[in-house]
């Protein structure tokens, strides 16, 4: 049975950022990614690290020339990631999937907005 917790005003969760919310016994990271809210348990699939407290970074990509030589590398803006501060596992914030091995996914919670207030169901 899930319980709904109020996190606070939507305005306090910046685009491309998030807050950590302690909802009863569960720590939840609530993030805003491309205008949408996502909530994940603050427990990394690797060793249970505090993944939701990590750095939020863009996808880093290599760019190839037509002849397949490497032109360079750059941050791409099509995917926002969070990196677990313990050992660096990176997750796609939109889906919760580990980018290096998508079989691993963060536990996701339902998150809703009513009258400008954000709620998570844990």
């Amino acid at each position: 049975m899930s319980v709904e917790y109020r996190v606070g005003p939507l305005a306090e969760i910046p685009e491309g950022g998030g807050v950590l919310a302690v909802a009863g016994e569960v720590e939840v990271g609530v993030f805003r990614v491309n205008g949408e809210l996502r909530a994940y348990e603050n427990r990394c699939c690797h060793q249970g690290g505090p993944v939701c407290t990590g750095e939020i970074v863009g996808r880093y990509e290599a760019v190839l020339n037509p002849d397949r030589t490497v032109a360079g590398e750059r941050f791409a803006d099509d995917q926002v990631r969070i990196a677990c501060p313990w050992h660096g596992w990176e997750y796609d914030l939109a889906t919760g999937a580990c980018v290096a091995d998508p079989r691993f996914r963060l536990r996701r919670f339902e998150v809703v907005v009513r009258e400008g207030q954000v709620y998570v169901r844990v």
């Binding site: 306090e12 950590l20 699939c45 690797h46 505090p50 050992h87 998570v120």
Partner: protein
């Protein structure tokens, strides 16, 4: 549902956190406070206490050069470097609080207080402590710097840090660039409180099988003391210069130097000559050991006359050595992991290590969650093997009995 009815979550706007709070939660979920845990390889950043260490340097000129240097200068000009961004451009963090005194530990050395705090968070009973920047000392071109600094470090560690608690132990640093000094070190530090044996850094260029080192092995053998080879990366070493990522240099460096030392050790019959020395290989993971078992046995069958001191296959010697577990390299198929451990000589050869606070540290849960090992084998790896090897007394239990049931590993994984 009415909005006013929803309980308010406690919100941490900057997502700041207690670095090891999750570790405590993970060990509690599994009841690991009831399981004796010996961390056979953890670290301190000893250069944060460099002025304290420098005071113990005997050679006045070496002492003077450290005394007259800033920390930055000492790190860059007096100690060999160790290239590589450990943090993946700041993505990986280290615990900044670890060196702060906590609560009733305010009276003891802050490094010991920080360590005891992190041990408590991870349910670790004993920690065997090693340095960090000084792990590169074996490549210093001035042997006297290795000797002087290592002696000062050992003295400082024993007198100022280990005294804080019987839970903190070490294997004292041996400056192998000078075998005579190494023998003196064994005389000075063997039996010192908290010293369980000796450690040689694996990244170095003195072939350990040369006759000049026999006196070192003899001194250890006489006292039945264990000798650990602590590995590391060395991105500046010629073969590694071709690797353009720290991922690559890190992946290959640790097992490379471990393999190099182990190969010289076995091929030159050092375990035959010094049967009382227990050899431990630290921080190189596991997968290299089965590789070496296969490779050396095959070579030996073809070229045994090049290794005339051996009376058994190389694998027989390897499978009598010990290996610390970190970084544990999980494989998808548990059967593969079981086979790998069998090829290393079985669970009795493995010693849990965290490597904390380094960036690829392992919690004890890493071992506890291995599905293919019996509980007895997991307990042996986490603490039993080390307690027998080092003669450590059973730890005082930190919590009353009443272990929590085994928990599912974190996250979900779909095939």
């Amino acid at each position: 549902m009415k909005d006013e009815g929803a309980p308010q979550a406690r919100v941490i706007p900057d997502r700041s956190f207690n670095f090891l709070a999750n570790a405590r939660r993970e060990v509690e979920r599994r009841g690991l406070d009831e399981v004796p845990v010996v961390d056979c390889d953890c670290h301190l950043y000893e250069t944060t206490a460099l002025p304290e260490i420098v005071r113990y340097i005997d050679n006045p000129n070496v002492r003077r050069s450290f005394e007259r240097s800033s920390l930055g200068m000492a790190m860059h000009a007096l100690l060999p470097g160790n290239l590589g961004d450990r943090t993946v451009s700041g993505r990986i963090k280290t615990d900044l609080d670890m060196h702060l005194p906590t609560g009733d530990r305010a009276g003891i050395h802050p490094l010991a207080a920080g360590l005891l705090h992190s041990m408590d968070q991870m349910a670790i009973d004993y920690s065997i402590l090693f340095p960090t920047p000084m792990l590169t000392l074996g490549t210093h071109p001035q042997p006297e710097v290795e000797v002087e600094l290592a002696r000062a470090y050992n003295r400082w560690l024993v007198r100022d840090v280990l005294v804080a608690s019987p839970r903190i132990r070490t294997m004292a640093y041996l400056p192998l660039s000078n075998p005579e000094a190494s023998v003196d070190f064994i005389e000075e530090f063997a039996g010192a409180p908290g010293v369980l044996g000796f450690m040689v850094t694996a990244v170095r260029y003195q072939p350990i099988h040369e006759n000049r080192f026999v006196k070192v092995f003899a001194a250890l053998d006489e006292r039945s003391l264990p000798l650990a080879f602590h590995s590391g990366p060395n991105w500046s070493d010629r073969p590694f210069e071709q690797l353009n990522r720290f991922l690559s240099a890190h992946a290959l460096g640790f097992p490379f130097y471990a393999m190099l030392q182990l190969t010289n050790l076995v091929v030159n019959g050092l375990p035959e000559r010094f049967p009382n020395v227990r050899f431990i290989f630290m921080e190189a993971g596991q997968a290299w050991v089965p590789f070496l078992v296969a490779r050396l046995d095959n070579e030996y069958r073809q070229r045994s006359s090049e290794a005339p001191l051996l009376r058994r296959l190389p694998s027989a010697y390897i499978q009598e050595m010990f290996f610390t577990t970190q970084p544990f390299e999980p494989l998808d198929d548990p059967e593969h992991m079981r086979t790998m451990i069998e090829m290393m000589g079985g669970p009795s050869r493995l010693l849990y290590s965290s490597d904390y606070p380094h960036q690829d540290f392992d919690l004890p849960t890493m071992i506890w969650d291995l599905p293919f090992l019996s509980e007895e084998a997991r307990r042996d790896i986490l603490g039993g093997n080390a307690m027998r090897l080092f003669g450590l007394p059973a730890p005082e239990r930190k919590r009353p009995a009443g272990a929590a049931p085994a928990a599912a590993p974190p996250g979900t994984r779909t095939e």
